[in-house]
Symmetry: C2
Subunit: 276 residues, 2 copies
């Protein structure tokens, strides 16, 4: 039986979850709400002085859990693949500057080539950026995305595929991010969580819910309890492997972005205690 959550010490929220807020608003409001973990999306770092941002995060005792997101590696065009590698090198620098231990990778896919080819390119690109990640002390977390994103967002669609790649690369700096939204349906999920978790390769755990019916491919994720995912069960599997990191709330939702974000944060906290 999964142990019930009774406090907010392991709660982290993604800046994208409260998309209407800029970085400062996220930090101030998360902190005021008693939330001490944050995953920073790179869009809120644009135009920021990273050193100042880091000072602000420290001032509020805000723990940076990860930076989201790098990746989007594959392309039939070699120049585009190089552009992606360069962008990921910059993302690693940003992560180090913000004190983030992990950079989350959304692998990418190019519909103009096979998924196998895209996966080869993903692996090649990760190997290219790995020395820089290692030097910066930033771990890379491959996040498998739901098969409905196989067209153009991720050629890695199951945790098994992510684990396979992680084992082939075989570096302590490359692991996986487990997001219940993408993986809840997979009959092999528990087996694969154990596989990466026991080897210390489970770097991040993301929660939200799957709305029934879902209305939008991108921005109709549910708050925990809104949908049909048995989140406590999956969290239990994750924790049984020894994972003791944050439970990161990552929700893209036109509905929730439209409401008052402080009221939304209260809803998130309630849902976190009740349904996570």
């Amino acid at each position: 039986m999964t142990k019930k959550i009774t406090d907010f010490s392991k709660l982290a929220v993604h800046t994208m979850t409260t998309k209407p807020w800029d970085l400062r608003q996220c930090v101030e409001n998360f902190s005021a709400a008693g939330i001490c973990g944050i995953t920073i999306w790179r869009n809120v770092l644009e135009g920021q002085n990273l050193r100042e941002a880091r000072v602000m995060l420290n001032d509020y005792d805000m723990q940076v859990v990860s930076i989201a997101r790098g990746g989007f590696f594959p392309s039939v065009q070699k120049e585009k693949r190089q552009t992606a590698v360069d962008d990921n090198l910059w993302a690693i620098e940003q992560s180090a500057a913000m004190g983030a231990p992990v950079l989350v990778l959304v692998s990418g896919a190019d519909p103009a080539q096979s998924l196998e080819k895209s996966r080869e390119q993903i692996q090649e690109s990760i190997l290219q950026i790995l020395p820089q990640a290692q030097k910066a002390g930033v771990k890379l977390a491959i996040e498998p995305l739901h098969p409905m994103y196989a067209g153009d967002r991720s050629a890695i669609n199951t945790l098994e595929q992510a684990n396979n790649m992680v084992e082939e690369i075989n570096s302590e700096f490359v692991g996986v991010a487990v997001d219940v939204y993408h993986l809840w349906w997979d009959p092999n999920l528990q087996r694969e969580i154990i596989r990466c978790g026991r080897n210390g390769k489970l770097f991040a755990f993301h929660v939200c819910d799957w709305n029934v019916p879902s209305k939008d491919f991108l921005n109709d994720r549910g708050l925990m309890g809104d949908g049909c995912i048995n989140i406590p069960q999956i969290r239990g599997w994750v924790e049984e492997t020894g994972f003791s990191g944050y439970n990161e709330v990552e929700i893209f939702s036109d509905k929730y972005w439209a409401m008052d974000q402080n009221m939304y944060l209260e809803k998130i906290k309630n849902a976190y205690l009740k349904f996570t």
Copy 2:
């Protein structure tokens, strides 16, 4: 290398593909276009005299490939499960009356219970209707649906899961339907096609395409060539197992339903020769 398609002898079209047409319009227009295979969706049988419909199909030398669709078995409510079983018994009668060798099953799922529980109920219900199917000479094809339908349409989301259930039931009257839309992304697809195909359990093969980006969870399927699925590769795997049935074009598309359906039928024929 997959053998190129050079004629329409193995082309079948689902009545739902040309949704604006009733059964008679489908039969007349398919026949005029040189298409001799049809899969009949049950909505076009509503209010039909089945004997007369059968005569019409014979008059046009139209081969009924399957009836779509039975299934939707699981529910937390026992009465609803019984209603589903009764409806499936009626679907078997309809299939027999139309001379259809196969009834396609969309398994169903109830978001109020686990996918494991739903799968148990699916298997129980199939076992309940199996004697009737056997008596009527109608085979049951379990169609795994894309994981994006795991919420409320199908707790069977990979061909591996469908094959597992088929092997457990172990009847010559229970096999699978392979639809490229649902399964193209699966890294284990070839292995699982071989698994069912070699045992004579591959009862139906459906084609369409995955649009990039996809805009609607239900009605934004692409015509072959519109999207990113390597259909010839998958057809090759299917045919290598000895499958010699129809290639069934099953497309739900608001876009194509809005156009002149005879012009659409010509587009389907072109796409069938070029991209299937």
